[in-house]
């Protein structure tokens, strides 16, 4: 659908109305229904909001940079009055009364929400195949996955349904699907965007971030999202100044982890940025195991609340214990159950020191290695994923699936801002990832913009 700023300008000048844009968006969503990008559409709500946006415009009210622009929201973020499913059976019937802070900020800036996008259940996955609503298909090749877990948001943007969508990134869930679908995906610094109203998967890793057609649009949305929030005590990070891209480091361990086709894409990107110096991040080899230990541990704790007592689905049984057991066994899908079991195992009294504490130690070590690197270089570069979009149904082995996150996990564990920029080519798109120190989001975006322009 193009760049957000351009759409906003056409709306401002009266060249197009919000009603027109929202109708086009809903039509496009219908025409691309085979992608399964949406869990629910809200045509009535969206048309009413668009009409209101147009009326306000006519009365001289400008709500902000997204006034009248259609936007889609990953279905693990609350939009008041629309169900939040997390693509899980266990949340059946759950309708939040209030917007997530990120959603409220978009709304205040004038955004019109057309629907909620599909995801891996509770954001656990790298392909959006682990959804109670079925897999999302890649708009560039429907036999292939869109990536995950924000696969619905990435597919909706890539298919031209919306100019921008919100996703969430725990280990790579915004960046990897953006790479697979040939769009831009931004994971902001941990703590720069409020998590209030985002259903928690792994609280120390979860971040809300935009997926958009270009870097400018992602940044425009980030600027709307970021800032302190009384409902999230951890939303304290600033985005930093937009420094001109300086020294760039190429993490050798991540560069070596990709096949030759990917390597030549990476080399092209490095050349487009005027070169990069090789740097070493030895702890990357612990990153994926540490991530799957820590994220699963936090998931087991965060998902303990889904017991059928207060909200969501309930499988009636004679006793409370049996009700909870049946509700959770039938409500959660296989991948979520696997992570809950793994998480409870690594947190259990007999294994906590061997797994959970060592995972924390590995994360600490990785963070200090990043700190050291950022004294030498300003930014880091790698591919976003070690591969392009793979065929639907081709990854039954969960560990093989986990490898898709190899390159996105380090920045997630360290809380760093990272953006995936698509590299156009002959076949399926690759993504190149720029990472920076925590609180240097604008610098990361400045480099991404330069890369985008150079790759054209």
């Amino acid at each position: 659908m193009g760049a957000v700023a351009e759409l906003a300008e056409r709306l401002r000048s009266g060249a197009v109305s919000s009603r027109d844009l929202v109708d086009a968006s809903l039509l496009r969503a219908e025409a691309t229904a085979s992608l399964n990008a949406f869990v629910c559409l809200d045509p009535d709500g969206a048309r009413a909001a668009a009409a209101q946006a147009d009326d306000e415009r006519a009365r001289g009210i400008d709500r902000g940079p997204l006034h009248g622009v259609p936007v889609a929201i990953k279905d693990n973020l609350h939009v008041a009055g629309l169900p939040t499913s997390c693509a899980s059976r266990i949340l059946a019937g759950f309708v939040p009364r209030a917007d997530a802070t990120a959603v409220a900020r978009l709304r205040a800036a004038g955004a019109v929400f057309i629907g909620k996008t599909n995801l891996d259940e509770f954001a656990m996955g790298s392909s959006t195949e682990h959804s109670a609503f079925g897999p999302v298909r890649n708009p560039l090749d429907e036999e292939r996955v869109a990536g995950g877990s924000s696969g619905g948001s990435a597919a909706a943007v890539a298919a031209g349904v919306v100019p921008v969508a919100l996703g969430s990134d725990t280990g790579g869930s915004v960046r990897q699907p953006a790479a697979f679908c040939g769009v831009v995906g931004l994971r902001p610094s941990w703590g720069s965007v409020s998590r209030s109203g985002l259903v928690a998967f792994a609280s120390s890793l979860d971040q809300v971030g935009p997926i958009a057609a270009d870097v400018d649009s992602a940044q425009l949305v980030l600027e709307v999202l970021a800032g302190p929030d009384p409902a999230d005590a951890t939303a304290t990070r600033s985005l930093g100044p937009a420094a001109e891209p300086g020294r760039i480091g190429l993490i050798t361990q991540l560069a070596d982890a990709v096949p030759p086709a990917g390597r030549s894409v990476l080399d092209r990107a490095v050349a487009a940025l005027g070169g990069a110096e090789p740097v070493s991040l030895p702890s990357t080899r612990f990153a994926a195991p540490a991530y799957y230990v820590l994220a699963s541990a936090e998931a087991a704790s965060n998902l303990a609340r889904f017991d059928g007592v207060r909200y969501g689905a309930r499988v009636p049984e004679d006793s409370l214990a049996a009700m909870i057991r049946s509700t959770r066994s039938q409500g959660f899908g296989r991948e979520v159950q696997r992570r809950i079991l793994l998480g409870n195992f690594v947190l259990s009294a007999g294994h906590r020191d061997a797994y959970y504490r060592r995972g924390l130690a590995a994360r600490d070590r990785l963070r200090s290695e990043f700190d050291v690197l950022f004294r030498r270089v300003d930014l880091l570069i790698s591919l976003t994923a070690p591969e392009t979009a793979f065929p639907v149904g081709s990854r039954p082995d969960p560990v093989a699936m986990y490898r898709s996150d190899l390159l996105t996990i380090p920045a997630a564990l360290a809380g760093l801002p990272a953006v995936s920029v698509p590299v156009p080519g002959s076949g399926l798109p690759w993504g190149v990832q720029i990472m920076g120190p925590a609180g240097a989001d604008r610098s990361v975006l400045a480099a991404a913009r330069r890369l985008e322009a150079a790759l054209g």
Binding site: T84, A100, S196, A200, A231, L320
Partner: protein, 191 residues
């Protein structure tokens, strides 16, 4: 042969705050069942805890009055267990970095040493009837300070005197109303 009892106490004090430990709901005793609740203390998905500044102030006041060392770094942890009156499946407490350590409570001519003071949230209340159990979550999330003594008490009488002394101190400080009927002051003994 005669034995000397060795008693350690864990005392839970409800702090005299207007609102709960991690949300804006009233922390007052009573009210219609489940009326003093919100997405945070009900453990709804997406809701995040935000610490109550006044609870931190009151716990710090108590710590200073008891000669405890207020820690520069204090953090919350999750204590996991599954129970219907624990909405999130875990209690937010301070396991690793309590707000204060050490200190003592003067009882008679002895000073009963304290191990630690930490902040935590209360659970809800289950009422068991003949054929059903009801859950009231008004108390879920109410701020508590847990005072843990060293195993230094030597008799039930001394333990009772200790409790009276604690109640007098917290009432004087305005940290808690110390009302035992309403559960503002509770005690677990390890003998």
């Amino acid at each position: 042969m005669s034995y000397t009892p060795v008693i350690g106490l864990e005392i839970h004090l409800q702090l005299a705050t207007a609102t709960k430990m991690f949300c804006g709901c009233s922390a007052a005793f009573g009210g219609g069942a489940n009326t003093r609740t919100c997405p945070v203390c009900l453990g709804f998905p997406g809701a995040l805890p935000v610490p109550n500044e006044q609870a931190v102030v009151l716990a710090t006041r108590l710590a200073l009055a008891l000669g405890a060392t207020v820690q520069r770094r204090s953090a919350f942890d999750r204590k996991s267990y599954i129970y219907p009156d624990l909405p999130k499946g875990y209690q937010i407490t301070q396991q690793v970095h309590p707000i204060a350590t050490g200190g003592a409570v003067p009882v008679g001519d002895r000073a009963i040493p304290l191990r630690r003071l930490h902040l935590e949230e209360d659970a809800g209340k289950s009422s068991h009837g003949p054929s059903s159990t009801t859950v009231d979550l008004n108390r879920a999330g109410v701020p508590l300070v847990e005072l843990v003594t060293e195993p230094a008490l030597r008799s039930p009488a001394e333990a009772a005197a200790f409790m009276k002394q604690v109640r007098r101190i917290v009432r004087y400080l305005g940290v808690s109303d110390g009302n035992m009927e309403q559960g503002s002051l509770r005690c677990d003994a390890n003998v």
